[in-house]
Symmetry: C2
Subunit: 339 residues, 2 copies
């Protein structure tokens, strides 16, 4: 029985009960022990990986067979179920709902390549336009308030699924991190009548010391208060709260800066484990009323977070971080590495 | 140059610049490679580990020599410096301050034992009373707003410092996680005129399915919305916002429930890496004005968080978690394991 439960102490929503006791211990024990002999994401194995929700494919080819360039399937480890109702309810003083949502896997290329950065810009562009298609499609489902695209990219290993893919989760709630960002963006706007993110971009372009890459549409910077060493944020230079509003031309620039930023991180840190997350505004209908100002005060962006340090009790206990390397030093190393 | 910088997007404070480029890469490369041949925390090596700030020791013995039962030193990797002034200042639109603070290591026993749970209850009791002594002492320094006790306990390894120790950090700010807890506790109290934590304890004692341990003073539960598998919270049953207000008798009960809870987690998960954090109210002077209601609405507690799963982009991107195991299942396993 999977549920989404609210932590009364911090307002985080936790998706829990995705595994039973036996499965949990089996998956703990088998971490790094199950060898992948056949890659389920390679063409020809479509029946193994799962049913196709969406694909960019050569005209005339059939779903769940080769011929695709980007392919989207339901996650085999789906934590969320599309068929349920939210069923928001109390349990004594607690709050919970059923695990309604979508959990999809975006297979980024038919080639057996591990990293997004190894794909040509045209292919990365197709991945971003697939993100848009899926997010638009799910927006039609009024149960969903937020869609998050994220990626867990790991070191090469025969025990890992080393075929480039990212994930999409559509949720019946707006996650706490996004609410926090919206809240601070709104506070800033109401005080300054300017977008916080636009102001950050202006200062970064003037100071240049934290800029990693820049092109016509985008800027990549190491944030002033980076939470992780070599953390990089990519932001559109033109104010826009909504990733879905970016034009096909804009996505080409995004693909370019994303490829270069990832390549730089991977070269400096020798292909580290990393995550990236795409933070866009909540779905439009959420912007009525309470959300009315989101269009002006929020700014969509991508956060790339290399994971090279262990989680400490200090981080879990404070929500702060001890992040050894100054972002200015990280930016310089990232800028100077040869691509 | 170490600084404390504010993330304008989320209000997290990040301690950064603790290592220079060369040190950062050296420490990355040497992770799991430097063998500890002499334990700096064992008696006889006091000169190696560092200058003593505090110790419970046999009368007649001298500081920085054997004869101690619990010993507190300045952390060799101190991220914070006691000698500086906060020097709160802007940098363009950003906010930062110098790295004023205290960063201490509490060596929990003269014996070379890895886990706190392996110590006798009397010794754990001394560790808790040392926490109180150090937190009280630092409260006198008006630059500090908050003191956090935390522990990073790892798997046994010759590359690790496997001598039981915890850490104390005193900060010139109240950390975001604590602010969040205070905020939600206050909201709950203003609506209900009851403490959120007391209500949770009442419901848990009635339902019993998430209770791991209970004694005269304390309850140990797997939280309803556990963020980590086998996460356990220990809370005093009697309302109290402030760990420093617990009596010596109460600390005996705390030592007992702490020992058993840790032992249970370590048995079920085969000595997993884990963290624990002690969340108490901010220092008293912070409770004036804005903080006026803390005494009524906050409730100190310890959070124990085993770390058996990898960090995913979903967690970083949403602040939510996918936590596979239902806390009721975890509690049952923890209760039933033989100690």
């Amino acid at each position: 029985m999977t549920e989404i439960r609210k932590d009364p102490f911090t307002e985080q929503w936790i998706i829990t009960g995705t595994e039973k006791e036996q499965e949990f211990f089996t998956s703990l024990a088998s971490q790094e022990k199950t060898e992948w002999k056949v890659c389920p994401f390679c063409p020809g194995n479509e029946k193994v990986s799962g049913k196709e929700i969406f694909a960019l494919r050569t005209p005339g080819t059939t779903a769940d067979t080769p011929g695709w360039e980007v392919r989207v399937i339901v996650s085999k480890q789906a934590a969320l179920q599309i068929e349920t109702d939210p069923d928001r309810r109390p349990e004594g003083m607690y709050d919970l709902m059923s695990n309604v949502g979508a959990h999809e896997v975006i297979i980024e290329t038919p080639e057996h390549v591990k990293n997004l950065s190894n794909l040509p810009v045209e292919q990365i562009n197709k991945v971003f336009s697939t993100y848009q298609s899926r997010m638009r499609d799910l927006e039609g489902d009024r149960r969903f308030k937020y869609a998050l695209i994220f990626k867990n990219q790991r070191k090469s290993s025969k025990y890992r699924l080393c075929h480039a893919h990212s994930q999409l989760v559509a949720l019946p709630i707006t996650p706490k991190t996004i609410k926090d960002e919206l809240h601070h963006a709104r506070e800033y706007y109401s005080y300054k009548d300017r977008c916080l993110y636009c102001d950050v971009i202006t200062q970064e372009l003037r100071e240049t010391k934290r800029v990693v890459e820049e092109n016509d549409g985008y800027i990549a910077v190491t944030p002033f208060a980076s939470r992780f060493p070599f953390e990089v944020w990519i932001m559109p230079k033109k104010h826009n709260c909504d990733f879905l509003k970016e034009s096909p031309e804009s996505l080409v620039n995004l693909a370019k800066i994303m490829k270069n930023s990832l390549l730089r991180i991977e070269k400096v840190l020798d292909d580290p484990p990393l995550n990236f997350m795409l933070h866009s505004a909540p779905y439009m209908r959420e912007r009525e009323g309470y959300w009315a100002t989101i269009k002006d005060d929020y700014h969509w962006h991508i956060e790339i977070t290399p994971q090279v340090l262990e989680l400490s009790g200090f981080e879990v206990g404070t929500g702060s971080q001890i992040q050894p390397l100054l972002p200015e030093v990280a930016a310089q190393l990232l800028r100077e590495i040869k691509l």
